[in-house]
């Protein structure tokens, strides 16, 4: 499976993601600087965590409007798989690839802590190695992960199984509506989530719960 990690200035979890993709899927991702207006031919584009453009104005707002995102939008329409984690998720909502928005955490503080995630949909390119309803330990590290969307949108997400991850067991760290931690688009080829599975894949991380997510990518390709 060929993957690429998209780099914007201010992105800072690209190495974590690179390490996870390389060690688990066995193939190293291309690192693509946003300035290159066209995305090389890959199966998966990953937008990692960080503070693109300082997250000034709104998280992900400025990166979402860069030329390379236009290209990703076009290719996603033709089926390119796109994964956005944390700031990547924010960029995907800001660019319209995913519905809704991510507001300031309800406690108004940045929060770095381990939460629990229920896999709500295990038929996606990022969850096919897990069981539906399976609960994973996974860290979060964000200040604006409070997912929100209007009522019809939420209903559509719920009805079509487009809520991929939900915070479990009262561990919702940010006040996200109906504990939504990660969603996908209608076609199922674009997934965004706030938590950091790339930081829960090896013994050093205290647990390897999130390894299967990256193993799923191999199957998907």
């Amino acid at each position: 499976m060929k993957s690429a990690i998209i780099l914007f200035p201010g992105i800072n979890r690209e190495c974590d993601m690179q390490r996870a993709l390389t060690t688990v899927t066995g193939s190293a991702p291309l690192m693509v600087w946003h300035g290159e207006s066209a995305l090389p031919k890959v199966d998966l584009a990953v937008i990692p965590g960080g503070f693109s453009y300082g997250d000034y104005l709104r998280c992900g707002a400025i990166a979402a409007r860069s030329p390379i995102m236009a290209d990703i939008r076009a290719k996603a329409a033709k089926g390119l798989k796109v994964l956005g984690v944390c700031n990547g998720f924010q960029i995907l909502t800001e660019s319209g690839l995913l519905p809704g928005a991510l507001l300031r955490n309800s406690e108004l503080r940045f929060v770095c802590r381990q939460v629990k995630l229920t896999v709500e949909n295990n038929e996606t390119f990022f969850t096919n190695k897990l069981a539906k309803g399976q609960v994973l330990r996974c860290p979060v590290a964000h200040g604006e992960g409070n997912y929100i969307a209007d009522e019809p949108t939420i209903r559509r997400l719920e009805e079509n199984g487009r809520v991929v991850f939900r915070y479990a067991e009262e561990t919702n760290p940010n006040g996200a509506i109906s504990n939504i931690a990660g969603i996908m688009n209608e076609a199922g080829n674009v997934i965004g989530l706030m938590p950091h599975p790339e930081n829960m894949i090896e013994p050093l991380h205290g647990a390897t719960d999130c390894r299967p997510l990256f193993e799923s990518l191999k199957v998907a390709a």
Partner: protein, 79 residues
């Protein structure tokens, strides 16, 4: 010319920052505060001197970048 843009959360969208400020003001002993909402304020200096041209340029800026119309409203004021 100078433009002032205020960006506010849409009605019905929770504003925890506003709530926090409301709480803090209460704690400081300020009474009779019925609601607080926080938003953004952006000041721009434009070379454009034509009012209408500036107006429509600003509207475009808000739609394209400054406001996230999923959750925010914006108001433009031209000096």
């Amino acid at each position: 010319m100078k433009a002032k843009i205020t960006i506010t959360l849409k009605k019905g969208i929770l504003d925890p920052q506003g709530k926090a400020i409301e709480g803090a003001l209460g704690a400081l002993g300020f009474s009779g505060i019925e609601s607080v909402r926080q938003g953004k304020y952006i000041e721009l200096e434009l070379a454009e001197s034509d009012h209408d041209k500036a107006q429509s340029a600003l509207r475009a800026m808000c739609e394209k970048l400054l406001a996230n119309t999923v959750i925010e409203n914006y108001a433009i004021e031209l000096a």
